[in-house]
């Protein structure tokens, strides 16, 4: 927030109302920022540098937005290695640089909020990274755990189970 008076700054406003100033050049990693700034220009704002542009991110908490800003700033210095599929390794630090691997070494709540924020702010490399982290997180988990993680309803499970059991009986004979 000490960059408040710097030329070429955009102010990202969190759900709690906290302001995170960020240079426009760096903030343009977010397509949401790009789009918003474009709209501001169309409306012929007084400040061509965008100093007064505030972008409300009403569904991004301050702690998450702080991480997003960290990501963007670091990305401007050391762009993340693009994640390509199929993955050649399950070691995150071998897929992307260590800083990025450490960046997503967070708890589940933060991880999913980062996914949501990356998606909302349309920051593709961050979305790639966080989705990769989630895919690693769910690896090896049971169906029930995964359903819980993704908040998949268990409604009608008994009905489903009946259908599945019926399907399984036929298919299992083929497997063996």
């Amino acid at each position: 927030m000490d960059e408040d008076n710097t030329v070429g700054i955009v102010k990202l406003v969190s759900k709690e109302g906290d302001i995170f100033p960020l240079s426009i050049e760096i903030a343009k990693l977010s397509n949401l920022v790009v789009t918003t700034l474009g709209e501001e220009e169309e409306h012929d704002t007084d400040d061509e540098d965008g100093n007064n542009v505030e972008i409300p991110l009403s569904n991004v908490r301050s702690s998450v937005l702080e991480k997003v800003v960290q990501y963007c700033v670091h990305y401007s210095k050391e762009p993340m290695t693009p994640i390509t599929t199929p993955l050649q390794t399950l070691d995150m630090a071998k897929i992307v640089q260590k800083w990025y691997a450490d960046f997503v070494d967070v708890d589940q709540v933060m991880m999913f909020e980062l996914v949501t924020a990356a998606n909302f702010m349309d920051i593709k490399p961050l979305l790639d990274l966080t989705c990769l982290a989630v895919s690693f997180y769910i690896k090896g988990k049971s169906a029930d755990e995964i359903r819980r993680i993704f908040n998949i309803s268990n409604e009608s499970v008994s009905q489903q189970d009946a259908v599945i059991t019926e399907m399984s009986e036929g298919a299992d004979e083929e497997v063996v």
Binding site: G140, Q159, Q160
Partner: protein
């Protein structure tokens, strides 16, 4: 937590291995046990024979194809599960497409000697699940791969040593394809088929005759269906070209190589074959030559369905055929 958007779920699944993907869907968790057993996976996905030289990676993808078909049957359970199924299907299809097409394009290091069988399986699985607009992409990749093979860069460098013969064969295919396009009636298709057989009988050994007949039959049927529709669609033509290339190209191969490609057949009454004299379609488990894969193709407007037609052609292959036998096909 809030529901992740579908697109984000798909994004996550892009990085997930097949085991995890299967775990996401209750109805598919049982498939995980198959993944644990390579032999089991092979049996499940590719039939009874386990002696074909295909890699574990292909087996996995073939297995995924099998799972996909079951997923389709599983849909309709409602709610979020359907979204997951949809994401899972999309992701598996993407993987299969990528897996199938890339090696075809490259004949690459991972599949330096991708066999004709593998390509056939790829076709079978892919066409069964791919969206029609993706078929042409697969077809192009297949053709590139086949041409590479024919030119000695791929599977069969030893047996393709006569460029003139290759040119002749390609020219023949082109002419036949043109004739199919130009044909206006079922009758002319049948005449064409007979003519092709006669030509084959004159030119080739009895072994080749059999396969030419089969290829012709398939091509003929595909053509007939398209003509019935009155429109030669790109998809229809693509399927024809795939079939033609799949089934004509092996005829250039040495008999031993054909044997290498052998796969199981069993008689099916699928309409494509139901007018082949039953007397020559008998299963023989002792058959030394082993089985062969031929593909059954049904084209209806807006939909393609290709599935393996299993026939007792191993017996057919062993028999001493006369030209009269074959002519009765048409």
């Amino acid at each position: 937590m809030e529901h992740l958007p579908d697109e984000t779920l798909k994004h996550i699944f892009r990085y997930s291995d097949p085991r995890t993907l299967l775990s996401c869907v209750r109805s598919c968790t049982r498939f995980r046990t198959v993944l644990d057993d390579d032999d089991g996976m092979w049996r499940y996905s590719c039939g009874k024979h386990s002696d074909l030289s295909v890699g574990a990676s292909f087996r996995e993808k073939a297995f995924i194809g099998t799972v996909l078909r079951e997923i389709k049957q599983s849909q309709g359970m409602g709610g979020r599960e359907n979204i997951i199924l949809s994401c899972l299907s999309t992701e598996l299809i993407r993987r299969i497409t990528q897996h199938y097409i890339v090696p075809f394009m490259n004949n690459g290091p991972d599949h330096p000697r991708m066999t004709f069988d593998v390509r056939g399986d790829a076709l079978r699985y892919a066409l069964d699940i791919l969206e029609p607009h993706m078929v042409q992409k697969l077809e192009s990749a297949l053709l590139i791969s086949l041409r590479a093979s024919i030119h000695g860069n791929g599977d069969y460098p030893r047996v393709i040593d006569d460029d003139m013969r290759l040119v002749e064969e390609i020219q023949r295919n082109r002419i036949i394809g043109h004739m199919l396009l130009e044909s206006q009636s079922h009758h002319s298709q049948r005449d064409l088929f007979k003519a092709m057989l006669r030509e084959a009988i004159m030119r080739e050994s009895s072994d080749d005759i059999v396969f030419r007949a089969l290829a012709s039959r398939i091509a003929n049927r595909a053509g007939v269906v398209k003509m019935t529709d009155g429109v030669m669609t790109n998809i229809g033509y693509g399927v024809f070209m795939i079939l033609a290339n799949l089934l004509w190209r092996p005829m250039l191969m040495h008999k031993d190589m054909l044997r290498f490609e052998a796969r199981e057949f069993e008689y099916s009454s699928i309409d494509l074959w139901n007018d082949i004299p039953p007397t020559i379609i008998q299963q023989d488990p002792q058959c030394l030559l082993g089985p062969f894969t031929v593909y059954h193709c049904v084209i209806v407007p807006g939909q393609i369905e290709v599935s393996a037609a299993k026939l007792g052609l191993c017996n057919l292959y062993n028999r001493q055929f006369s030209s009269d036998d074959l002519i009765t096909y048409g």
